[in-house]
Symmetry: C2
Subunit: 265 residues, 2 copies
DNA sequence: TTTTATATCATACACTGTGTTCGATAAAAA
DNA sequence: TTTTTATCGAACACAGTGTATGATATAAAA
């Protein structure tokens, strides 16, 4: 199933947005129109409509039967879209799913920028972001379970892993500079921290959320703080960790859910 | 691919050994012979031969192209075995793979018993078992990478996770008794510890083992010890952890490798 | 509006891989 | 030897994938 290489962060292959972006069209007679330099083309309404329908169908089906069990035909039937149309847009269902996440990532990065700017003006309300993450996950556990739980493929988790890793490795390297001889390579610490958070979320979902989000937030801190202290060799400021690590996941997940799982809507 | 439920510890469905055990035969005309009460039947030589060939073929192919890419036909060709014969023994290739691990688990448990007995007599040589684990993994990294790395399915990792979890949850619960109010539920600690170890192994393999086993051993201790101290609320004896956690993996892996990957041999 | 461009549709097709069936044959056990 | 049964091989139905093509519908451009 996942024999082919799963490129987590491709070079913006199918670019992020569904309404206003270039379409890598695979169909025989189709030619990429590209007259005009840097002239932003308005997308054909049919394109965004089709993509939106397919994304909606995929998301609905994921909740219903889990990602792995979905066939391309299922998506076609649900979206009421022709077979060749599907393959004109995406290579396979993996690419369709990744496309959603690519889109969300762009949205998230923009929001992150806004947050960073707001933070610099001074008054930020000091959220407990890990807690919000678990609350949110719990509220939409059906979908989360479908995409992150045991029954689903590992692609999404790998994507998230890579995503968080990329986000964290910079700050971690920065922190590490204060140490002369790091006992643990920063790459390993980062990998370890991300694995811990994701495995905690997965555990929580797979076990039907036996504890409230508050408890999970506490657990995450108890488990990760001493390790980070030991690895970095100094007291961690929770703010830094929250901002870069859990905050990202939360915002990422939030957008995925809040927009009704259909980016083009 | 992995739509169906992956039963990690089935009720001894295909029972452990290949030469001297009952065969759950799926074929139409086949009837389970069962005359005689508790009378251990010698297995038909053809059965053990066939199974051995199929296991050998699977293991060779895993190293060559990774588990996911293998088709049943590949196994058939390599093992020089008929199609119907394969399905007379196993439901699919997942079951064939699990069968290997089930077998190894039995062997491992017997050896564990022997070790435990030897330990009680007094003189044990105090191995650093985590270190041995990494050394061993490194020596056979091609196979390990194929079964535990990025390119392979998650089935084996889930199996190992479940296995180690089962092994650890008992001792952990015991240790937890000394605490009045555990800040972190023992199930979560155990899940976390196992995830950490496996993610560390995976990272090491996926990054072509950039550090020597000695370093990985050190890293594992640095990362896991403070967390366990925080969670259990008291100083951990390394002996306990080594014996129950990493020792299991090492022995488990060792047998898998040492026996040439073909249990029936 | 008319013209042009192109996205979509329906259908058909080749292909890969799965899992089953069944009679004939070979090999092991009794 | 006789009986039992594991294996073979070939055929088959089935599900799913990804491609190709001409006709049609619809959007954009003139």
């Amino acid at each position: 199933m996942f024999d082919k290489k799963v490129t987590i962060f491709p070079e913006r292959v199918n670019n992020q947005c569904f309404d206003n972006c270039s379409i890598p069209d695979r169909r025989a007679g189709f030619v990429r129109q590209k007259r005009g330099f840097m002239k932003e083309k308005k997308r054909d309404r049919r394109v965004s409509r089709t993509r939106r329908l397919m994304h909606e169908a995929l998301m609905a089906l994921i909740v219903e039967k889990g990602y792995e069990a979905i066939t391309v035909q299922d998506i076609l039937d649900r979206a009421d879209v022709g077979r060749s149309t599907f393959y004109a847009h995406y290579q396979d269902k993996d690419e369709l799913l990744l496309s959603s996440f690519e889109h969300l990532r762009t949205l998230f990065e923009e929001q992150q920028q806004a947050l960073l700017a707001a933070r610099q003006t001074g008054r930020n309300p000091e959220l407990n972001i890990v807690l919000e993450l678990f609350r949110h996950t719990g509220e939409h556990h059906r979908l989360y379970k479908a995409i992150a739980g045991k029954q689903s493929g590992e692609m999404i988790m790998k994507y998230l892993h890579r995503y968080l890793y990329t986000l964290l490795i910079g700050p971690h390297t920065e922190m590490m500079k204060e140490r002369v001889t790091p006992p643990v390579p920063v790459e390993v610490i980062t990998h370890h921290l991300v694995s811990s958070l994701l495995s905690l979320i997965t555990w929580w979902l797979d076990n039907n959320m036996p504890y409230p989000p508050e408890k999970m937030d506490e657990i995450f801190r108890i488990l990760s703080t001493p390790t980070l202290e030991a690895a970095f060799g100094r007291k961690m400021e929770e703010k830094i960790m929250s901002e870069y690590a859990a905050g990202s996941v939360m915002a990422f997940y939030s957008q995925f859910i809040d927009r009704g799982c259909c980016p083009g809507k």
